[in-house]
Symmetry: C2
Subunit: 375 residues, 2 copies
């Protein structure tokens, strides 16, 4: 948003368009400019980001200067060497859930800020380390931290963010139960990443094939645990009783599964112009995604299994053929069905709580924007 | 120790000899067999290790099975693939300090066990990640975890141990203050590792050279913080008042600096048969160690600085010449003086506390065994 000296916003039409497009993209991929014409989800995310930004910057400022630079680089706030920049820092979904969690249980937004800082730090820690594990050289269109600074320094920066996240919660009110909540999510995060790494080595078919139920456990751990933790921690810091905290944690976990499946669908059928990812990238890399796993679990998977057995030989025609086979075998429909089921479960859990209407509505807006993109 | 059915220990003389030798080695390098003839420090370490072992094994058992295998490999308890083994798991200095911290403030040894588990997990986490950062392919004579399992899995296993350590403290009594104590040490650990990595790129002489005072800050963070945390956490869990906890933390930090300097001295003048490290390895690698930094800060360092400026060209004669120059310039004497000063500071802090005499004596035995090896 650009403002004139008179405080009147001047909004070029093209910004509104790109904000709308960005809202359909994965939340990690770009920061949408926020304008009066932006969709509500982007406005909610922007408000929460702005609220947590000073505390997040202050926390990062306590790190070793070199490590702080790597953290700022990861948040899109500087170049290698430390020169200030603004490359977009991600939508900040997790910090928004923490703030909304506090508000939804009728606490002040500020109560959720330590949780927002902690979960955002954990998220960036996990991106830094996951990019090393997955060999992903690019993150949000720039060299990943391990590419820009080296593997060792990226490991160290991730460790520092991890420690800072725990310290942030340890210094917040109700630190005993909050730290337990955070470490439980951290444990699940690591378990989910371990599952995901091991899936790569398992066959597509036969008794050792990855089953849809296993995939969903992985997605709940890898993606859902931190989303649930964000909501739950925000509510906990605002003084919510345990049953509400538990229900919010479960809602966030369902949301995470829905979000991960939506991401899988976009990875196969999404518009690369919108997703920012190469077309059919997941299929080319032989990644175990839910639409493909569901398709293989159905009838007539012979040709698809053959194509996938040698992913490196999948040329353009092979990928298109595999995509068509996944769709024909019902993989896409099954994925959409599962994502909708988990989204509905999240919404049912929210509906069962006596939440403040305004924040609850904002929360539903964010949930839909995250998971509805592809379903 | 081997026991007969009658409970009489049978101790082959050779075991006693190797235990005595091992006691002079770096604490990470080997597990000393313990016999009635063993030096007291080895017996104390053994007792504390045995006390914490079940809880440590139980904690590791809660990890993802694949991650648990990597953890057991790192502890020397299995081969790659999971087959049981016993390669020696390190002396367990940190867990011993936690148990002794509890006993020294007149608590039961068992009170210190959660702290023992947490600090040992943190120690192994830091070894896993540091070996990646430093490119060290060997650890305790076996391939490091990143060599045996891959860099990505080793990053993940470290993360899992880190999370498990925090969770262990979060579930223990007095979790609020204990977690703060642990995360504060974790922050310092990361800062010390960052300092150490950056030292490698700095010159030996001139205004940007690493000063002895900077080295000691690095050593306190990288090595001292966790030793201090071990003592402090053990005492805290046993109900010690804050001033005693703080004094024990400071004592452990001084011990860490003394220990690190002793390690540096052994790295240059130690017997490779005892240290298990290549002779003059630190000099060949151009590592910034205290004896060399102190020597360069003294008079007549011209030839030494020239030799060090091109460490890769240091052949056997060059290394011997550099070693002689470091000694002649007073580097060895300065290192021994500094290590003794820090050890004395640690002992003075202990002497100022109303500690239980028996555990305090055991604590001093362990301190001396750690830092006296080279001074």
């Amino acid at each position: 948003m650009t403002s004139t000296a008179l405080g009147v916003s001047t909004v070029p039409a093209v910004v509104t368009v790109s904000a709308a497009a960005a809202d359909r993209a994965a939340p990690e991929d770009r920061t949408p400019p926020v304008t009066p014409g932006s969709p509500p989800a982007a406005r909610v995310l922007h408000r929460c980001r702005e609220l947590a930004a000073p505390a997040l910057a202050e926390a990062i400022g306590t790190l070793h200067p070199w490590v702080a630079e790597m953290a700022r680089y990861a948040f899109g706030r500087c170049e290698v060497g430390g020169a200030p920049a603004d490359h977009g820092q991600g939508k900040g979904v997790r910090q928004a859930l923490a703030v909304l969690g506090a508000e939804a249980v009728r606490g002040p937004a500020e109560a959720g800020v330590p949780a927002a800082v902690a979960v955002e730090l954990v998220h960036v820690f996990s991106l830094l380390h996951d990019d090393i594990m997955d060999g992903d050289a690019l993150r949000r269109g720039r060299p990943a931290v391990w590419k820009a600074y080296g593997t060792g320094p990226a490991v160290l920066a991730g460790d520092a963010l991890f420690a800072l996240a725990v310290e942030t919660m340890a210094l917040a009110p109700r630190s005993g139960s909050s730290v337990r909540q955070l470490t439980s999510a951290l444990g699940d995060l690591v378990r989910g990443q371990a599952d995901d790494l091991l899936f790569a080595d398992r066959p597509w078919t036969g008794p050792d094939a990855v089953r849809v139920a296993e995939y969903e456990v992985m997605a709940e751990r890898k993606t859902g645990a931190l989303l649930g933790c964000a909501l739950a921690l925000g509510a906990r810091l605002a003084g919510a009783p345990d049953p509400a905290v538990t229900a919010l944690d479960r809602a966030g976990r369902h949301l995470g599964v829905a979000f991960q499946i939506a991401d899988d669908v976009l990875g196969i059928w999404g518009d690369p112009q919108v997703t920012g990812k190469p077309v059919h990238g997941d299929l080319r890399q032989g990644k175990k995604t839910l639409p493909v796993l569901a398709a293989l679990g159905g009838a007539g998977y012979g040709e698809l299994a053959e194509l996938l057995a040698a992913p490196h030989s999948l040329d353009g025609a092979g990928v298109r053929r595999a995509t068509a086979l996944v769709e024909r075998a019902g993989g896409r429909a099954a994925a959409v069905r599962e994502a909708r089921r988990h989204l509905a479960a999240a919404e049912a859990l929210l509906a069962g709580l006596p939440l403040a209407p305004g924040p609850a509505a904002e929360l539903r807006t964010v949930l839909s924007a995250l998971a509805d993109r592809a379903i």
